[in-house]
């Protein structure tokens, strides 16, 4: 959630807490924000389950906001996929089911004569929001830096491959990797600039990934002082040129963990790497997941079977950055819940061994 001044908010992606309450709505409600008027954009950077939980409810509440999603989801193959899977109602909490609910909201808007029934599609260098009047410190824009044209083609092929085939069994859809549909956002308001990395991964192809963004995307007001680290800080989403050329030195870096089976992101190496670029990094939670205690016979059965059931996600945490002066680089950082500094554990473990990444020069947008 981003306050862009003038009491207007952007909501980028969404998640739910352990009680299936939409975190963004609860937070905005606690601040006394009227989401029906003050939320001006609802953006889904991609359709993975962990990024769009509850986003349909956010959109339903944000009556004055268009819905923005990737250009890669524009083709009818995606709509047909959503229609086919939603009709069978296999799994109730998934990215596809959220998009089905978003589409229903957009249809309702059309039937009731609402202003914004049509989605905005994000593509590299397309502006999704702007404010060009008023005080200079409040003028701003939200630009998409991806998907690129090359990524579009790959994403559409991947989506077409997911469409069910006649006489084949039904199964829950698996998110394709790498994520070529992801929308990276560049937000500038006054002199404050933020780069929101979504789940975009760096690829070996020269027409997709972060290299394309660094080489060709328009990044007005660069460098950015706030960086949402992409893809949970994983190695395959790292492009050192991003840190060197479109971010300030020692930016504020925030990221979320990802845990699935024995895969935990960020790894210790990822933490070391991120902390070599900045000393100001925070993560919304650790990677440890809790186990819900059940009745004794169930617990004994689980123990006998040797099956460990854990919560799918780590405990919830929030990081809030608030500008303390009219300067691009002065922010207060507040941590809530399970949020914690990323680099403290690294400093403890690698005292004297950390070396700063050598900067190669800064690109001006």
């Amino acid at each position: 959630m981003i306050h862009v001044g003038a009491e207007e908010w952007l909501v980028v992606d969404s998640c739910v807490d352990e009680h299936n309450q939409v975190v963004a709505l609860a937070y905005l409600s606690a601040l006394g924000v009227d989401t029906s008027r003050q939320v001006v954009r609802v953006v889904a950077t991609h359709w993975h389950d962990d990024h769009v939980g509850g986003i349909a409810r956010v959109l339903a509440s944000a009556d004055g906001a268009p819905f923005c999603c990737s250009e890669a989801l524009r083709p009818q193959e995606f709509l047909a996929l959503v229609e086919a899977l939603a009709a069978r109602s296999m799994i109730t909490r998934s990215g596809v089911s959220e998009f089905a609910a978003v589409i229903e909201t957009l249809k309702r808007r059309k039937h009731t004569g609402h202003r914004f029934p049509t989605p905005q599609f994000a593509l590299q260098d397309r502006t999704l929001w702007h404010r060009s009047s008023g005080p200079v410190e409040l003028r701003g824009r939200l630009n998409a830096l991806s998907p690129s044209d090359g990524a579009l083609v790959l994403a559409q092929r991947a989506l077409a491959a997911e469409f069910p085939l006649v006489s084949k069994p039904n199964r829950a859809i698996a998110a394709p990797e790498p994520n070529d549909t992801a929308v990276v956002l560049w937000l500038q308001v006054g002199t404050c600039v933020a780069l929101l990395g979504a789940d975009l991964e760096e690829t070996k192809r020269n027409n997709t990934g972060w290299t394309v963004i660094v080489d060709t995307a328009e990044v007005p007001g660069a460098p950015a002082s706030i960086f949402k680290v992409p893809h949970h800080g994983s190695r395959n989403a790292d492009q050192p040129r991003v840190w060197d050329e479109i971010l300030v030195e020692d930016p504020f870096a925030i990221l979320t963990p990802f845990v699935q089976g024995d895969t935990s992101l960020p790894t210790d190496r990822d933490r070391l790497r991120i902390c070599s670029h900045t000393s100001r990094a925070w993560i919304t939670s650790g990677v440890r997941r809790d186990h819900k205690q059940r009745s004794r016979p169930v617990e004994r059965t689980l123990k006998e079977l040797g099956v460990r059931v854990t919560n799918a996600d780590p405990p919830m945490g929030h990081i809030r950055l608030r500008q303390v002066a009219t300067s691009a680089n002065h922010w207060s950082v507040e941590l809530f819940g399970a949020a914690q500094p990323l680099c403290d554990a690294v400093r403890e473990g690698t005292k004297g061994k950390r070396r700063r990444h050598r900067r190669r020069g800064r690109r001006r947008g």
Binding site: L79, M90, I103, P119, L165, A174, K292, V307, A312
Partner: protein
């Protein structure tokens, strides 16, 4: 052999009095719960009701025209197919916990990772790793990413009064996609695209 209705020799004399000197026990079917047509003609064409054997049903008397013949020595009575009471009540399952699962990935070592939704109480999302040996052999070919299953833990109470804890994995065998279903989805998508300009 076509099963035919059995007649039993009445234990009543012509006047409707029970004839204790005639014992038909040996000719009565020896199975429990069997059903018989209790009609036997007498010389004048009247019929005499008899009580059904071990049955709570009191059948209506049948006219003479519907009287069937007695089985011959070479024929056997085919009783109705009824499960014995013990087999019907052999096991009672008392569910303690159930999840709906989706397979996330299948490992080379035969294990598989699944995302679980608690269906017993909270609907919370959880995760667990299983051994493919835990999957019933009949369901093994369904084990692939995206497959949906139910995992249930509970008590099994046997007819003999024994109780044990049980864990069951059962994969959903969903109907395959039909051409009509997919065509309908594509049509709905086209209609949606036109309505909200998603194109």
């Amino acid at each position: 052999m076509t099963p035919q209705a059995l007649e039993i020799t009445p234990t009543f004399d012509r006047e409707g009095q029970r004839d204790a000197t005639r014992s038909d026990t040996a000719r009565r079917p020896s199975y429990r719960g069997g059903y018989v047509l209790p009609v036997v003609p007498n010389g004048e064409g009247h019929h005499i009701d008899t009580a059904p054997l071990d049955s709570e049903m009191i059948p209506e008397p049948l006219p003479l025209s519907q009287v069937r013949r007695m089985p011959t020595a070479r024929e056997r009575v085919v009783p109705p197919v009824l499960a014995p009471r013990d087999a019907r009540d052999a096991h009672l399952f008392r569910r303690l916990q159930q999840w709906e699962g989706v397979v996330l990935r299948v490992g080379e070592d035969g294990s598989f990772l699944a995302r679980l939704t608690d269906q017993t109480s909270s609907g919370d999302l959880e995760e667990a790793e299983f051994d493919s040996d835990d999957v019933p052999p009949a369901d093994r070919d369904l084990l692939q990413p995206g497959a949906v299953f139910y995992w249930t833990i509970g008590y099994v109470d046997s007819a003999g009064g024994q109780r044990s804890r049980s864990s069951m994995l059962r994969f959903r065998r969903l109907p395959v996609w039909s051409a009509e279903e997919l065509s309908a989805a594509i049509e709905r998508a086209q209609s949606t695209a036109e309505l909200i300009d998603w194109r």
